[in-house]
Amino acid sequence: MIRICPRKDRDGHEEPGRRALFALLAGAAILGTAGAARAQVSASYDTAQLQFALNLQYLVTNYLRVAIYGTGGQLPAQLIRGGETGTALGVSMTSGSQVAFLGQTRSISARLREIGDENLDRTTLLRSLLRADSPAQKLIDLSPAPFTTMFRLAGAIGPGETFDPYASPINCALAANCLIDVQAGALLSLVPTMTNDLARDTIAALAANVCSDAATVRAIIYVQSQVQARPDALIMVDRLAAWRDQISGAGVTDRGLSPVGSPSVSRLALVDADGLALARTPAQALNVLFMDAGAVTQGGFFPTGINGTTVRSAAN
């Protein structure tokens, strides 16, 4: 029987109402009989959306946790397999290495650790909603190579330069920004299409916090660009955002980071002119993550694609 996280929140308060609702959604009352403790349950709601969200979780969680905790921090076997019983093993993320966060960069590592840990919680949550419909994690390449490809495509580095997302705290934040901005936009796009009221409420609250995470990473880069006198970091984000927007086709899906105006106004929030967060469809998200403007099923961070229902990028 799946564990419905009967933990307390950070301040020690139980949330019985929400817990009970989850027990209803993920547990026996809706999905099966209480007696079938080890049986796989394959009647999840909004399966396509939740599967796509889980693939995003695989990407972001593995990156942050390896960067913070080092090898061994990646998602374990039971959180990346297909379904619940272990017959469809996932492909463990083996690229990446621990970032050296020294001295005064502790405010960066603390915040990235928070985001990584909460993404682990969200991964567990999505799997508890999908249960047997959880897609197995396929090969995820988070080595410097695909980041270098992306940064070159965006013009964020020169054609002969490389980008190592594990080389420094600010590089780690730049890489996290590339992943989390896409995660936030895609979640905002897929949540409204969900049909189950309770699941939608839940993933809406997840999406809101990912928007918060995105702003945190952008705030880290912005402040570090000032503290370390690294205006180039802002220009890199500007170019990466412009590239993501361009490869995602029509519509505004992204935003640069350099401040604008006089007096100076920062651009930490990924929002439009109405102050509303920017969205991109799952297929558009795959354009970015596969690093391909065409309709393809693999590339970039996912050399063999992803599992689930939505697996193809848009033809832009």
């Binding site: 996280c5 919680d121 007096p263 929002v271 109405d274 969205a279």
Partner: protein, 345 residues
């Protein structure tokens, strides 16, 4: 396909946003009819348990129960935004937002209390200008979406100090507590202003996220993005305070209390008014050797903490008992959703 280059301006992109709710009373009436078909029509509250005690309204003509329409929800979000905008504007300039952004039906009021803060940190200033720009832009969005259904800014009190709304939510206040000898004034320093901003933003975010998911299908996608924007604003404010709290924890200054501790005491101040479940959290913790962050307030599943409007109003009216006015809104807010819940623990 262009990158948004400015948080303000861009008239062209503004024009393409739909008037979700039209601009006529007829449209609003049609929405009211639609709302009768909603599955979430918990009369009297937005998916919150019905209070067991009988509320004792202090205002006039306040319904004990209501069935919220999308327009009611947007107007509630608008009332929350009036408060945040009034606060940040006062701190940045000493003034108020444009009168053209505050009119509408209901009982209009003015902003009392507060004053301009002396800012020395250009990075913080740029961030707060962004915050205010986005909050005002969202006010514009809500007003355009509501059309003629828009409700006015009510009387707002954002004063600090003894007997003020901010003092009322600044600390837990059990009956046997020693009365304070110093009082919270968010306008005395950058750090104090951020503590006040964290407090108001926590309420706004938790309520908006809860309400946005309840919108009917036609406007749900847009309002989820709205909630995402509010969440980003909340993160900007919390990051700004976190960086300062971490710096002070790493290198303590004699006579300055830990900002992590102060933020947590204020968290407890909010929690006393919104019911028994923990709907708020600290900012993290730190000392000279280590620090942990809690920028994004999350439950054990990584989800945003959510307040029903009744719980949010409990904090903003600074009352665990059900009332319809108080503290930051001395005459209550405008709209069908205006009475706080019976939130006594």
């Amino acid at each position: 396909m262009a990158i948004v280059t400015s948080p303000v301006g861009e008239a062209a992109s503004r024009r393409r946003f739909l008037h979700l709710f039209g601009s006529t009373a007829v449209t609003v009436g049609a929405l009211s009819a639609l709302s009768a078909c909603e599955s979430d029509g918990v009369v009297g509250a937005e998916r919150v348990p019905v209070p067991t005690s009988t509320p004792t309204p202090t205002g006039t003509g306040v319904p004990n129960g209501y069935t919220a329409t999308d327009a009611d929800r947007l107007n509630f979000m608008l009332q929350m935004h009036y408060l945040v905008a009034a606060y940040v504007q006062r701190g940045l300039t000493g003034g108020t937002i444009a009168a053209s952004l505050t009119g509408g039906a209901g009982t209009a009021g003015t902003v009392a209390g507060g004053r301009m803060v002396t800012f020395a940190d250009p990075v913080l200033l740029a961030s707060l200008r962004e915050v205010q720009g986005d909050v005002v832009n969202r006010i514009g969005f809500l007003r355009r979406s509501l059309g003629s259904a828009v409700l006015a800014q009510p009387a707002i009190n954002i004063a600090g100090g003894q007997g003020s709304p901010f003092q009322a939510i600044a600390r837990p206040n059990p009956a046997n507590a020693t009365p304070p000898t110093t009082f919270f004034d968010p306008y005395v320093s950058e750090n104090d202003f951020l503590l006040g901003a964290v407090a108001l933003s926590a309420i706004a975010k938790s309520a908006v996220v809860a309400l946005s998911a309840l919108m009917t299908e036609t406007s749900r996608a847009t309002l989820l993005r709205f909630a995402g924007g509010v969440s980003a604003t909340d993160a900007i404010i919390r990051n700004a305070l976190f960086v300062r709290a971490d710096a002070l924890a790493a290198t303590p200054v004699a006579g300055q209390e830990s900002l992590f501790n102060r933020a947590d005491v204020m968290r407890q101040g909010r929690d006393q008014y919104d019911g028994p479940t923990g709907l708020d959290q600290n900012l993290g913790a730190g000392d000279a050797t280590s620090v942990s962050a809690n920028i994004t307030m999350s439950d054990a599943q990584g989800l945003a903490l959510r307040r029903t409007p009744e719980r949010a109003l409990g904090v903003l009216y600074a009352s665990a008992a059900s009332v319809s006015a108080g503290a930051f809104f001395p005459a209550g807010i405008n709209g069908v959703i205006r009475q706080s819940g019976a939130n006594a623990v």
